[in-house]
Symmetry: C2
Subunit: 361 residues, 2 copies
C-alpha cells in the first residue's frame, strides 16, 4: 500500500453524472451558478457548516448529488489534508477492537496518515461530540466499526460527505458506503459441520446481539449446518448473547441445566465461548470431555485458553487493513468496484472439540 | 475533565527561569534579540524545522532552555491547534493496549481532542515515519507507552518540544517528562504475601521483559515477599518471559518439570499466567488443585478464565486517563507538580489460588 498521491490544490475537477471522470468536468463555480448562490456558500455546504439556510443547502446538495460531486477534491482547496483517518467504535472494551485497530493503523501509518480512535458508547451525546471533533480536525475519511449511530448523526455525516467505510455493518448501511465484513454465514455452517462430523447431534447455540447482521448470518449458518446433517433445529438449544463473556456464561449454564443438555455448544464469539468454559467448569464438567465448545473470531488468546479453542477465524486485522485501503482510494477520488466485501472465514480446529462421550437424545 | 481553556493566539508569554509565571515574561522577540537572530529563525527552531544552522540552533535552544521557554504557547501563534493527542505503542497486539487506549480516549474525547494511535514495532524506520507524520499533523502532545525509541528519534522529539507524557517507562525517561506507572514493586510483594499466607513456600516466578523497569520492580517485590516470609529466594524458580502467552507457557512448563516443582507460580502478566494454565493442563494437572497461579494486570478476561485468575490489578484505564489529563495540562502551559506518579496496584483474589495440596521441599 503506497502513500496517497499528492493532491493538486487547484484540482477541483469532479465526477460527471455517470461516474466517469472522462465526462464533463464540474467545478464549484458551475454549481454556484446553477444554484444561484455564491461560491463561498457552496463551500459552506461542502464543508458541512451550519450557517446556510436550509432551502439553499437543499438546492446546492441536490446539484452536488446530481453531478456525483466528489466534495473531498473541493475541500482540499480550502485547507490542506489533515492526513488523518477517523476510526469509530461503539466501545473500546474487547481484544477484538485491538485487532481491527492493528490492521487499520498498519496501512494508515505506512501511508503517512494518523489513525484517530474514538468510542461513542452508543450515546448520542458522545456521537455528536465526535462529529464536532471530526469537523474541527478535517479528517480524510471515516471508518465505522459496527457503529450504532442515530439518524441525526448519520444525516450529518452524509452532509459532510467525508469518505466512509463500514466494518461489520450493524444493519443496512447507506447506499454507496463500502462495507467490509466476513463470511459469517459460511463460518456458522463450518462450525456445525465440524461438530456433526464428530458425531454431535445435539448442538447448542449462543447468538450475538440480535440487531447485528453478522449475528443473524451466524445463526442462519448454524441452522443450515444442522439441516445439512438431517437434524431439525431445536429452539430450546438456542440462547441469546451479546458477544461478551457473561452472556456466554449464562447461556452456557442454561443449556447445561437442560434435562437433556447438548453435547456441544457453538458460541458466536470467542469471549462467549470462554464464558461457556466457565459454566462447564462450575458444573464440575470438563471441556472437551463432557462438552465440546466452538467459538467465533479466533482472537490471539484462543491459542492459549485451556484447552485451546476450536473457533471460526475471521480475519479482523485484514478486515481493518482492507477498510483502510478502501478509504484511501475513496479519499483519492477513486471509486470502489465492489462496495460489499466479505472476507473468508476459516475453521481452526484446536482441542475444545472431540466426539461426544455422553449419550444424548 | 473539562475542555482545554481557549488559547489567546497573541499569548506568547512564557515561564520565567524559576518556573513561575509571575516572574519576568519572555517573548519570542526577546529570545531573537538575545541570540542575535531574526524572529522567524527562532520560530523555525521552536517548530523543530531542520533549515537552521546547527550553531544557531544550539544558541537559540540554550536561550529557550535558560528561560524555561514554553514553546507550545509560541507554536500556537503560528498555526491553530490540531486538537490531537498522539499515542504511541511498540505493538498493538495485546488486550492490555485496548485498556490504555480506552482511558486516554475517554478524556481526550470529552476535551474535544482526537487520539491518534500508532505502533512503532521497535523499528527505527517506523518510528521515524511516525515522527514525520507527527510533525505534519502538529499534534498537541504525545503519550508514549513503554516505547523503545532510539536516540535519534528521542533527540528529534526533544527538539520538537511537544508536550510529552510516558506511560509505564521502559527505562530512565528524559528529565522533565512526566511518567505514569503503577506500584509494581508493591504489587509483586502483595502477590507473594497472598501465596505465603496460603502456606506456599516454593513459589515460582516468571518475569517480564528484563529491560523494562516494571519487570524489575515486580521481581524485586517477589523477592521481598519471599524474604518477608523467611524464605530464601531460589534462582532455579525464576524464569524469564516477555509478557506474552508463549513465554508464560514455556516458563511454566520448565518450572513444572523440576524435580521439586513449585506449588504456586506468580507470572508478571495475565497473558503469561494463561500460558502457565496451559502448561499445567498439558502436564495433566489442574489449577488450582495442583498448582496455584497468580497473574499481573487484571485484564477484563481474567474474570472469565477457567478458573478465574487471582491477579494484581494495575489500573490501566486510569493510568491512561491520568496520562491524558497530565498532557492536556502541559499543553495548556501548566506545570506538573509530581512528574513521577505511580497509581496503586491491588490484589484481586479469585479462584486460581488455594493452599498447597502437594507436599514440597
Amino acid at each position: 500500500m503506497g502513500a496517497l498521491p499528492p493532491r493538486d490544490p487547484s484540482d477541483n475537477a469532479v465526477l460527471s453524472p455517470d461516474g466517469n471522470t472522462d465526462g464533463r468536468k464540474v467545478t464549484i463555480s458551475v454549481i454556484a451558478q446553477e444554484a444561484g448562490v455564491s461560491v463561498p456558500t457552496v463551500s459552506r455546504v461542502v464543508n458541512g457548516r451550519s450557517d446556510v439556510a436550509p432551502d439553499t443547502r437543499r438546492r446546492v446538495e441536490q446539484l452536488l448529488n446530481r453531478y456525483g460531486y466528489n466534495r473531498r477534491a473541493l475541500r482540499t482547496q480550502a485547507k490542506p489534508s489533515a492526513r488523518l483517518i477517523d476510526l469509530v467504535f461503539n466501545d473500546l472494551d474487547s481484544p477484538w477492537a485491538v485487532e481491527i485497530i492493528r490492521g487499520i493503523e498498519d496501512v494508515a501509518h505506512n501511508a503517512g496518515l494518523g489513525t484517530v480512535v474514538s468510542a461513542t458508547h452508543r450515546e448520542p451525546v458522545a456521537a455528536r461530540q465526535w462529529l464536532q471533533n471530526l469537523r474541527a480536525r478535517a479528517s480524510d475519511g471515516v471508518i465505522l466499526v459496527n457503529s450504532d449511530l442515530d439518524s441525526p448523526v448519520q444525516e450529518e455525516l452524509r452532509r459532510l460527505n467525508v469518505p466512509m467505510v463500514v466494518v461489520d455493518p450493524v444493519g443496512g448501511s447507506p447506499r454507496n458506503t463500502p462495507t467490509i465484513g466476513a463470511t459469517n454465514w459460511a463460518g456458522g455452517l463450518s462450525a456445525v459441520e465440524h461438530l456433526t462430523e464428530l458425531g454431535h447431534r445435539r448442538i447448542g447455540f449462543i447468538s450475538g446481539l440480535r440487531q447485528m447482521l453478522c449475528s443473524r448470518a451466524r445463526m442462519d449458518g448454524y441452522r443450515a449446518g444442522l439441516e445439512a446433517a438431517g437434524i431439525t433445529p431445536d429452539d430450546a438449544l438456542i440462547r441469546e448473547g451479546d458477544f461478551y463473556h457473561e452472556s456466554g456464561f449464562h447461556g452456557g449454564r442454561a443449556l447445561l441445566e437442560l434435562d437433556d443438555p447438548p453435547t456441544a455448544i457453538f458460541a458466536s464469539s470467542d469471549t462467549m465461548a470462554f464464558g461457556v468454559y466457565e459454566a462447564v467448569r462450575q458444573r464440575g464438567w470438563r471441556v472437551p470431555d463432557d462438552v465440546s465448545v466452538v467459538g467465533f473470531d479466533d482472537l490471539p488468546e484462543t491459542r492459549w485458553s485451556s484447552p485451546p479453542l476450536t473457533t471460526v477465524r475471521q480475519p479482523l486485522a485484514e478486515m481493518g487493513a482492507l477498510a483502510a485501503r478502501s478509504l484511501l482510494r475513496l479519499a483519492a477520488g477513486d471509486t470502489i468496484e465492489s462496495p460489499r466485501v466479505e472476507l473468508a472465514t476459516d475453521l481452526t480446529v484446536r482441542e475444545s472439540t472431540v466426539p461426544p462421550r455422553r449419550s444424548s437424545g
